[in-house]
Symmetry: C2
Subunit: 239 residues, 2 copies
């Protein structure tokens, strides 16, 4: 299980898409800003003219329905970069970016990025590589949430959480970030109650246990079977 690299705040987590040189270049055009939990980096309808790099904290990308339910498309943390990467084209956000832990965010203006990309062909290529990766992440998540019911969706989510926040221990993996059942539900488009019942079943089957709110995966294979896991690379099978 990969550990989180926090020594270099400008290392895009789990991707290795960018060379050290290009990370420095990206860092040079970032404007650092502090944002409080509960505030928003962008709302749907806002112009997509910025990229965001999380130096610390957490952000969720969501879509809300009229009835008050929300679907969490991504949950980003330290080391993640995101934003509508749609250079040289005016477009608008379809999702919301809500801060869920006080954060320090590096903001990259699209116009600065465009200049940088024009000047550095190799950075442009690394960018494409990164964009390809996140698209694959979206596609595999899409597949997981569509194909094997809510049980499959939850097990896929647990595996992604383990890949992203997991600390490997003897015979089990501890998911270091704590999420409420409501959050888990919103990440797979289910209800809190359903998630609660499914987690109970998984506990009864000794596939997981819960300690101090932390989900501990005891039988990864059990989860994998339910969502027909194909053992995708961890840089794709993640949050």
């Amino acid at each position: 299980m990969s550990t989180i690299n926090s020594s270099n705040v400008c290392n895009v987590r789990n991707t290795e898409c960018f060379s050290a040189d290009n990370l420095v270049k990206l860092q040079q055009i970032m404007y650092e800003t502090k944002v409080a939990s509960g505030s928003h980096l962008f709302w749907e309808g806002d112009t997509t003219d910025k990229l965001y790099f999380i130096k610390s904290g957490r952000v969720k990308i969501t879509k809300s329905s009229d009835e008050g339910r929300q679907f969490i498309l991504y949950m980003y943390q330290e080391g993640d970069m995101f934003g509508q990467v749609d250079p040289f084209r005016k477009s608008f956000h379809v999702f919301n970016a809500e801060i869920i832990e006080d954060s320090v965010v590096g903001v990259i203006l699209q116009k600065d990025l465009e200049v940088l990309l024009w000047q550095n062909g190799d950075l442009a290529v690394e960018f494409m590589k990164w964009m390809g990766l996140i698209h694959r992440m979206t596609q595999t998540k899409f597949r997981d949430l569509m194909m094997f019911g809510k049980h499959g969706a939850l097990c896929s989510l647990l595996i992604r959480l383990a890949n992203t926040y997991g600390i490997e221990q003897v015979n089990h993996i501890c998911i270091s970030k704590v999420h409420t059942n409501t959050e888990l539900a919103d990440m797979i488009g289910a209800t809190r109650e359903s998630v609660n019942r499914m987690l109970s079943e998984l506990r009864k089957a000794n596939a997981i246990k819960i300690e101090n709110g932390h989900i501990i995966v005891e039988d990864l294979q059990y989860l994998r079977d339910i969502c027909h896991c194909e053992n995708c690379p961890k840089d794709i099978c993640r949050m």
Copy 2:
């Protein structure tokens, strides 16, 4: 409603991402090949070392479950380019590409593309733009299929079909491509029977009618209301 550009076979449909110059460059590194209906361009597990450009015919990108059901992620046609765009990285297909109409396909080898991208920074940037678009297409489809039940998913699909294959007529839009109910079902992760019943309801509500197998959208707003359509640009809200 946009019409299909078939005069220039190397125009990537509905995107306008690529300049004329760069389209020529892409065309120059393509190897043309004829592929028969029923055959596959790639299977899951194959190395992602090529891009495909459809000069004529149709291809579906699918994921099959053990029980024989399949989920159709994309349905591509003349003018569409696709493939795992993951330059400079060895990775493997997660989905299958099945030819569903005898096709002529331009194949671009990744190594040729890499050279071209290195030489042409502006092409690399156009590529990023294109990748951003298709990612957004995936994301909005994901949202549509997750958030408003199968009714919402079907209405979203009908709107995308109308945007992609629609021929605007007085007071209604005729979807020029014919799909079986089974195909429609596989595109939204539902069963044929459910789709059939939902189409019947839409017919009863005078939202659509069916003539010679063609679905004709009579009341677009009715469909939009069901899937909470936000009127996304047509280059994103498409198949």
